[in-house]
């Protein structure tokens, strides 16, 4: 952000080339987001089917998104363990010197790789706590609902501005229908 992004490198045309790659990496890694966000969730009784679903009806990387949703349960378990570990380690610091929990930690260290990754962030507990409290779940559902509301309003503007038969209006309408279908699919799953 120290550069001058608005004028030098922010041309939309400049961005197009690398977007496919960035999209793919986005989907493959976003499961981390899910895992971390889940740490704050005390009620994990939501069935997996509620959070699963096709990500995109418009031909965008469905398999990738399925990937990170599909790994959800494993991530949830690991995330839960990690959050317990985080809590335990924080209470450990408070009661430092009173209890010897080293053996317990050793036993847990082998439980999962993601918990190890998360354990690296223990020094930033305040940051984690704040972030965990703020991230709503399920995140994707919130984003989709909000996007749907925004796009529905935009559709009205498109219809008024450029007409019902315009290519862009039709494109937007199809996109909204795709989003709605995806949502209803999720509900019935």
């Amino acid at each position: 952000m120290e550069e001058k992004p608005s004028k030098v490198s922010l041309k939309p045309s400049d961005r197009h080339g690398s977007d496919k790659e960035s999209k793919e990496s986005l989907y493959s890694d976003i499961r981390d987001l899910w895992t971390t966000a889940t740490l704050s969730q005390s009620e994990l009784n939501t069935p997996l089917s509620d959070v699963c679903g096709n990500f995109d009806a418009e031909g965008r990387s469905i398999s990738h998104t399925r990937g990170w949703y599909g790994q959800g349960r494993r991530s949830l378990d690991e995330g839960d363990k990690a959050s317990r570990k985080l809590r335990r380690s924080s209470s450990m610091e408070i009661n430092e010197g009173k209890e010897d929990t080293a053996s317990e930690i050793k036993a847990e260290k082998s439980s999962s790789t993601s918990s190890l990754d998360i354990a690296k962030h223990i020094p930033h507990r305040a940051y984690w706590a704040e972030q965990q409290n703020r991230l709503p779940l399920p995140l994707m559902e919130l984003m989709e609902n909000e996007a749907l509301e925004v796009l529905t309003e935009a559709l009205w503007s498109y219809r008024l501005g450029i007409g019902r038969d315009h290519l862009l209006t039709q494109e937007l309408q199809q996109y909204i229908e795709g989003l709605k279908k995806r949502r209803s699919k999720k509900l019935y799953l």
């Binding site: 939309p12 960035s22 971390t36 965008r60 984003m143 909000e146 925004v150 796009l151």
Partner: protein
């Protein structure tokens, strides 16, 4: 300007020191951006942008159009994710009362945004147009140009602007220290009173 409570942006966490989003938050934001990118061009046009900002903030139509023009400096009629990200950081900084810190940390970016003519200078008229984004009062803006326009051309170059952000952040820190000291004094006074009462009884 306020963010709509419960909206997706409202949940994002802006780092208070660096005034940036975490990588995870950026990824989530990217996902959100792609959901809004209906035409698959990795951009938002003015209509989509207007409805997005209208939905998540209480900005007026005129203000939204101003923000769009500021971000779409090349007049392409669309904005990409980078501009979108900058805008979200500005909105979150405003929401969390971190405007001074944001301007200080990202002075080059903010300067670039406010330099509408592209001549490496900010005019008072342009700054006035966008002061609502950075929570700057009218009088403060007047004082700014009086105090920091060292070259005397009635416009701010980057060095002058940077100096302003440093002074503003210093003022903020001093104000904070003052309030903290006052609170500490209050507490110590209260403790003294309490201990005095205990001794008396």
């Amino acid at each position: 300007m306020r963010l709509k409570e419960g909206s997706f942006l409202w949940y994002l966490y802006l780092d208070k020191t660096y005034c940036l989003l975490s990588v995870r938050n950026v990824k989530a934001l990217m996902e959100y951006f792609h959901l809004l990118d209906v035409h698959g061009k990795n951009t938002l046009n003015d209509v989509l942008f207007y409805h997005f900002l209208h939905h998540v903030t209480d900005l007026k139509k005129r203000e939204i159009n101003l923000v769009f023009d500021m971000l779409d400096w090349n007049a392409v009629g669309e904005i990409g994710f980078e501009q979108f990200y900058v805008l979200v950081c500005i909105l979150l900084a405003h929401q969390n009362h971190l405007e001074e810190r944001f301007m200080y940390r990202h002075s080059r970016t903010v300067f670039g945004l406010l330099d509408l003519e592209g001549d490496q200078k900010i005019s008072p008229e342009n700054f006035e147009m966008y002061r609502f984004l950075f929570n700057i009062q009218k009088q403060e803006l007047k004082d700014l140009f009086c105090d920091f326009d060292i070259t005397g051309d009635r416009r701010l170059n980057y060095q002058e602007f940077k100096l302003y952000t440093i002074v503003r952040i210093n003022k903020l820190q001093k104000r904070k220290e003052k309030t903290e000291n006052a609170e500490r004094e209050k507490k110590s006074l209260l403790i003294k009173k309490m201990s005095h009462q205990v001794h008396a009884s």
